[in-house]
Symmetry: C2
Subunit: 358 residues, 2 copies
Amino acid sequence: MDRVYNFSPGPSQLALPVLEKAQKDLLIYGDTGMSVMEMSHRSKMYTDIYDQAVADLRDLMAIPEEYEVLFLQGGATQQFSAIPLNLMVNKKADYIDSGNFAHLAAEESKRYGQVNVIASSREDTYAYVPEVKGLSFTEGADYLHITQNNTIYGTRFVELPESSAPLVCDASSMILSEKMDVARYGVIYAGAQKNIGPSGLCVLIVRKDLLGHAMEICPKLLNWEVQAKAGSMYNTPNTWGIYIAGLTFQWLKEMGGVAEMEKINIEKAALLYDFLDNSQLFKPTAQAKYRSRMNVTFVTGDAEKDAAFVKAAAGAGLVNLKGHRSVGGMRASIYNAMPVAGVKKLVEFMKQFEKENA
Amino acid sequence: MDRVYNFSPGPSQLALPVLEKAQKDLLIYGDTGMSVMEMSHRSKMYTDIYDQAVADLRDLMAIPEEYEVLFLQGGATQQFSAIPLNLMVNKKADYIDSGNFAHLAAEESKRYGQVNVIASSREDTYAYVPEVKGLSFTEGADYLHITQNNTIYGTRFVELPESSAPLVCDASSMILSEKMDVARYGVIYAGAQKNIGPSGLCVLIVRKDLLGHAMEICPKLLNWEVQAKAGSMYNTPNTWGIYIAGLTFQWLKEMGGVAEMEKINIEKAALLYDFLDNSQLFKPTAQAKYRSRMNVTFVTGDAEKDAAFVKAAAGAGLVNLKGHRSVGGMRASIYNAMPVAGVKKLVEFMKQFEKENA
């Protein structure tokens, strides 16, 4: 049995060298006599792994000193609640609704204060990201929330809105895939299971002056200040997830870092979009200006043909190409761990399928 | 390098057959062409793993149909908040304070309602569990919370309190180590990293009639009803953690189930306590009646000798015997995955150390 090319939106393909290292060391890590899964999170053998992961992420993203880096649980969705609970001092916030997760984030925050959706592409099935020029920001808003890449619809922000409130960004499906100027954000958070590691982990990068304002009703474990003071270990963190994330960070550094990955990701996305723009059978669904480099969405316009394609592709070792249940069609998620060779094989397969189904 | 005997209180030793299977299948699981870490949580290949884990846990603990079984994130600590947020309809609850985690659970619940600590052994450094006969329960309390085994102090409840309110039990350090009559509880919850699997996972067993009463301010992901309706997958769960938990459940079934493990655990604990009761050098710290079978705490009475013992034991492949920083001394955590041979080796080592340090 060979390994497949896995185009899943998340959990998704991991880099082979990461998996190979994890496999080799699974029973005994280094000279510790135990698996990483068996290590006390307070032991030096584990805090070394943790500290290295934090240092490598800081290095990869050039995270300034005035930001904390936390490894939390609950994925990005838990932060949909934690964000208002930690930041809503004035009890009002702005949201841009550019996709399903952006929408859910806004809905959840209504539990804790006044939420103004200042721009939305919901009426147009999120085929684009709302224009960020000329937006009316709410006076005294505690923050402005965006979802920088929309996994389901295959779109991305091509520029950032210029609010005076801190920018809070769900970067789950684009973190580490392109350079980000961290200083432009108040908070960057990302579920790990797309570009970082296994699920059950959320990376949170928060400017230190935003800590210390949590509501009294904020569950202690969701309070960022509590976790910052405890180095993400107010209680036992997801130790294995952090370890695999750390191996991924090391792999990214060996690959040349984020700038190099961005080049490769632009190349991968171009291979697919160039083919789609010239195809007689497949059509891309996202507006050209806002096309995601991580999630490429497309349709044939015929649900039966879509299903036949997904099935045939799986037979050829190209799996999880089915689009999200809410939109149908196809989606190829091509995160950092998807090599150029995987995308080339997919394009070749699509060409062949087109020829046979013209 | 050999594997050590790891007496860590958690994360802790895992069963070797579990680790070996995880290692073998790490790159490619069955005929899926991918690692379990790479599987979409909504794919059939993964939901099969999930469903089997739930079924095996139900089987092992004889969980009645009227209970939901959930695999959540955030460890037991997150449930310290989720419990009042889900159950405090009358905004009052009873707690028994039998140790550090019991205390933290009570403290956190004060954020959401009136908390009555109806019994406590805190003044006596938690050397015993408070007597459960003759307690004054609060009229109309939403629940009574206990921590059935106290990891730090090495004590356990030897009988359950008889409140008319639902019994909510933190079973983190004793679940699956002895038979539990699930029908006597309203909620059983347990961080996975002691008797179940890796950290970053919490098992929650909840009687169905207790769902649906969450406060409006309850974060959506902490709402048990939301997670019950979504089969623990309102968002992406800790897929790897659940997989390893499932392998552990299969191993426990091969070992003969919980009844058989209980016998082995009684034997392991007796080996240590019998030695300690007759030692000239080491003294057990927990009151005999309330001795834990999972965490055996002891001291020499001399901090330097304690430190020398811990260091020498580590040199002999018996690691993580240092007691919790709040109490000092030593602690041997002997969960299901610690074989009798490991305990015997520890006792032999203690005898030798005693001879050399008499």
